[in-house]
Amino acid sequence: MKNAETGAAVEMELEGENTIDEVIESAATFWNKDMGAYVLRKGKKVLRGGSSLSDSGIRAEDVLELIPDPEGG
């Protein structure tokens, strides 16, 4: 897992039934992110929150990136 804002990376042990929502929240907690909206991307694709890792086609060694979703105006 990469932190788009800092470039930091961490290995996460996850199960196929873990949802993208759960992964986002775990990563945001690990990096002490401010409360806010975040999305998880794999390559050029935003992953759907309610989907499981297996349904999203995520496999071991895949690199995911946590990016803030800017909501100010």
Partner: protein, 229 residues
């Protein structure tokens, strides 16, 4: 155009200088001092008199382009019915909170109107276009973190807001980039090039000088799509 803060000022300016004449500006807020360094139409006098942002932007648009016919509505968009969406060809979202975005997203979708949404946080920005009935809408790209902060307002100034976090205030160069991309999308619509509209989300990172398009696919469980008949 919904929202007349930092992004709304820039979008309004770009729209009228691009030749748009009929523009309705909706915003329920008033000008405060901390708005002034990133909002070209706002002055200290507007802040002192707590002038409604929508009115001030409408006045500024008229001064920039005498042929323009802007109208201002000082009201929360969530309190407005669906008619305002049906009565316009394009909806420009310059909002500061997710709840209002969801309201505008679903109403635009049901009215069959193209919704161009912009968002910013410091040096980061995003533009997404919802083009019903095709493709993904704004809500398709959201998850549980969006739900948790949906009712909070993100500051364009860092002050006088409901949501106080150690965030960067809106940054004018990011605002300029995001507003330019938004208005470029609107220009594609009116020049008959809907085929060139953004199909995904445009992300901009001003610190790393990166801009890229990231795919947001349509969510079959998204309530906006599942309720459409």
């Amino acid at each position: 155009m919904v929202g007349a803060g930092a992004l709304g000022n820039e979008v309004a300016k770009d729209l009228v200088l691009s030749g748009f004449k009929n523009l309705t500006i909706v915003d329920m807020d008033h000008v405060v001092g901390s708005n002034l360094n990133r909002c070209m139409f706002f002055t200290e006098e507007h802040a002192r008199t707590r002038a409604p942002k929508a009115d001030v932007v409408a006045q500024g648009v008229r001064a920039l382009s005498p042929g323009a016919e802007p109208s201002a509505i000082v009201q929360r968009i969530e309190e407005m019915g669906p008619a305002i969406f049906r009565d316009h060809d394009i909806v420009m979202g310059c909002l500061d909170n997710i709840a209002a975005r969801l309201h505008v997203n679903s109403n635009s979708y049901y009215a069959g109107r193209i919704y161009v949404d912009g968002g910013m946080d410091g040096f980061l920005g995003k533009v997404m276009v919802s083009h019903p009935p095709e493709g993904a809408c704004l809500q398709c790209g959201m998850n549980r973190t969006h739900s948790k902060v949906a009712s909070l307002r993100y500051s364009c100034t860092g002050k006088d807001v409901v949501f106080h976090e150690p965030r960067l205030a809106a940054e004018i160069t990011t605002t300029s980039v995001i507003s330019a991309v938004m208005v470029r999308e609107a220009l594609k619509v009116v020049s008959g090039r809907k085929d060139l509209l953004l199909a995904n989300a445009f992300y901009y990172d001003g610190q790393r000088n990166i801009s890229e398009e990231i795919e947001v696919s349509r969510d079959p469980n998204c309530p906006v799509h599942s309720q459409r008949v």
